[in-house]
């Protein structure tokens, strides 16, 4: 696993749409688990649903798999409406959160299960060969005859993966597949999953509440909240152009300063904070004068400076310092802005000397680094 080489990103995923959600809603009694979802899944892409627990990610996935029918709206596979097509008729496979491996079957029998259901029947040697190749692919050769309970968590995870990909599905759905693994294994599996996706060319749809997992593996991320899709985009788009405060907080970390829009220029917006301080920044969406907004500044875009003679920037005192190796994270306090995080590269410290707790410094950022976001 650790020797997994890095497989470079293939050509851009094609523009063919393989699956689609059109105004899909799902109600469970009074609970609205999915609320007017609109989404096109492109052939060959790695798409993630990211959101906190209970926001409806699993429900969206289960509607694609065929375990739930939408209350309203349409689910399309290959341009055909499949709302009421049963799961066993869909060319889609799922890796379940707790793997759902069959305890009464061996590893080999588990992986061959989907192939054995196909009609007309596949010849035994064909099945055996496919199973063998897939076992090799997930590096489990030699484990054919093992029972599921004789396998470790990481191995079970790979059996579950093999059981799905051996069928070459049009869509591979993964529900928090790495949640049960320990941190180190999770890292390795992230790389392995990404490599598998690229080498097989299968479309992956992954559900996770772990932003790092979504950011590191996905071509596109679909941010969800309370059954709704908030924003869809590449990890970079979401990081640089978050639609609102919720997205900015979910994708990476950021500092937020609440205020009201007091002036809109051609490319800069000024925001008056509660303490009377005025911050400049760029608006991401439509921002109106007088609107309640927040100014978001990423910790790594803030500079700390020792020279007190310079007038630009905000005078701050260092209240905490965490050494992270190549970076250092400072918690600094400004009398009007309050406390916020700053991430500085090692080079700054080498140039300007280490900043200690209690030091008074100047914090500054480019106006372009400050994003004016809807406060939702």
């Amino acid at each position: 696993m650790t020797d997994a080489g890095y497989i470079p990103e293939s050509d851009q995923p094609s523009d063919t749409i393989i699956a689609e959600l059109r105004s899909v809603s799902k109600h469970f009694g009074d609970v609205v688990a999915a609320d007017n979802l609109n989404l096109s899944i492109r052939k060959g892409e790695f798409l993630s649903f990211l959101g906190p627990s209970g926001c409806g990610k699993t429900t969206a996935l289960r509607m694609l798999a065929g375990f739930e029918a939408p209350t309203s709206g349409d689910v399309l596979l290959d341009s055909e409406v499949v709302n009421n097509l049963e799961a066993h008729r869909r060319p889609v496979n799922m890796v379940f959160q707790h793997y759902a491996l069959f305890p009464h079957l061996t590893v080999e029998q588990n992986i061959g299960y989907g192939l054995r259901q196909q009609r007309p029947r596949l010849a035994k040697p064909v099945i055996a060969e496919k199973v063998r190749k897939t076992l090799e692919l997930v590096r489990l050769d030699g484990f054919e005859k093992r029972r599921i309970w004789e396998m470790s968590g990481g191995q079970q995870q790979r059996v579950a993966l093999a059981r799905a990909i051996v069928n070459e599905p049009k869509l591979l759905l993964l529900d928090e597949p790495l949640a049960a693994l320990d941190r180190k294994l999770r890292k390795e599996m992230q790389i392995e999953l990404q490599n598998l996706q690229r080498s097989l060319g299968i479309t992956f749809v992954l559900v996770t509440h772990d932003q790092e997992e979504a950011l590191s593996m996905s071509d596109r991320i679909c941010i969800m909240r309370d059954g709704r899709i908030v924003q869809i985009g590449s990890p970079r788009d979401l990081y640089d152009q978050p639609k609102n405060r919720y997205v900015a907080g979910f994708v990476g970390t950021s500092n937020f300063f609440d205020g009201k829009v007091s002036g809109t220029g051609r490319d800069h917006v000024s925001v008056t904070l509660a303490g009377g301080l005025i911050l400049e920044g760029v608006a991401v969406g439509d921002i109106a004068n007088g609107q309640d907004v927040c100014v978001s500044v990423r910790p790594e875009q803030i500079r700390l400076n020792r020279s007190p003679d310079k007038k630009e920037g905000f005078p701050v005192t260092v209240s905490n310092r965490i050494f992270l190796g190549e970076h250092t994270e400072y918690l600094v306090k400004h009398e009007s802005l309050g406390e916020f995080l700053v991430l500085t590269p090692r080079q700054t410290e080498l140039n300007d000397g280490p900043f200690n707790t209690g030091d008074t410094l100047l914090a500054s950022w480019d106006p372009g680094a400050a994003l004016i976001l809807d406060r939702a």
């Binding site: 798999a65 065929g66 375990f67 049963e86 799961a87 066993h88 008729r89 889609v92 496979n93 799922m94 379940f96 959160q97 707790h98 759902a100 491996l101 069959f102 305890p103 009464h104 299960y113 989907g114 259901q117 196909q118 309970w149 059981r163 069928n167």
Partner: protein, 272 residues
């Protein structure tokens, strides 16, 4: 407290122990131990009446347990799929039928069957073609099996339901995700996983039917099962032969109960 428990257990098990001990009596009286021997076992097993009754009991137990396992499993699987008040009602009825004393089931089945037979027999006579002797419905082999199947079904339902509800729902979902039809899923996933419970249900049912005296007493008609034979011989006096029969029945029952228990335990572990 512990002393009290010891007394309770002694009260329960000493008579059974005494029966087992006296079945090895060399003498001919049930109340006097005169040396040990297995001769009464030989006498019991060569008594044609005993062997006849044993055969009836075994056949009834086997057929009843088979039917109860089959129908009970079907009912359990069906009940698993429904929710709401219907399910609550069924659950309540099933538990009630397990807790009702055997004598009530015996009398109720007798009255029920007699009423039905009284209605049906004239009807059969009426529709039967002239010249051929019309058959008469009466108590006997079939009514005995029907009564046993009925009350054993509840037992099987409870055992199989416990296993079904302990089974991870995502296993059947995974199976249908892997292109298996609902029936295919039942055959390839559900059935193998609940099979130990079904087998345990079968063994328990077999034991209960084999041991049953009360229900059989009411509905067996002219058939003689082993417990009925023992009951009628006791009226002519308890001999060591009866003790030998009792001990053999008990041994067979114990073996089946222990096997059932092992099956249930092992299934539980595997489903984890």
């Amino acid at each position: 407290m512990r002393l009290y428990a010891i007394f309770v257990y002694m009260f329960l098990y000493i008579p059974i122990g005494v029966i087992a001990l006296f079945s090895f009596n060399a003498g001919r009286h049930a109340s006097q131990l005169q040396g040990l021997s297995t001769k009464w076992y030989g006498i019991a097993l060569s008594n044609p009446f005993v062997m006849d009754a044993l055969e009836t009991s075994l056949v009834v137990a086997f057929i009843s347990a088979t039917c109860a396992s089959l129908f009970g499993t079907m009912a359990a699987v069906a009940l698993q799929g429904i929710k709401g008040p219907v399910r609550t009602a069924f659950d309540a009825l099933i538990y009630i039928s397990v807790m009702i004393p055997g004598i009530v089931i015996g009398i109720a089945t007798l009255i029920g069957l007699v009423t039905i037979f009284d209605q049906l027999n004239p009807l059969i006579v009426a529709i039967w073609p002239n010249g051929i002797e019309p058959p008469q419905l009466h108590m006997g082999f079939a009514s005995l099996i029907a009564a046993h199947t009925l009350f054993l079904m509840a037992l099987v339902i409870i055992i199989v339901r416990a296993r079904l509800s302990g089974m991870d729902r995502s296993l059947t979902e995974a199976s249908s995700d892997l292109y298996s039809t609902p029936f295919g899923t039942f055959r390839q996933v559900t059935l193998p996983l609940i099979f130990p419970a079904i087998l345990a249900g079968f063994l328990l049912s077999f034991t209960f039917s084999f041991d049953d005296f009360i229900v059989a007493f009411f509905v067996a008609g002219s058939e003689t099962t082993l417990p009925i034979y023992v009951f009628s011989s006791i009226r002519r006096g308890v001999t060591p032969e009866i003790n030998a029969i009792g001990t053999m029945v008990m041994a067979v029952s114990l073996i089946m109960l222990v096997t059932a228990q092992i099956l249930l335990r092992r299934g539980e572990r595997r489903n984890k």
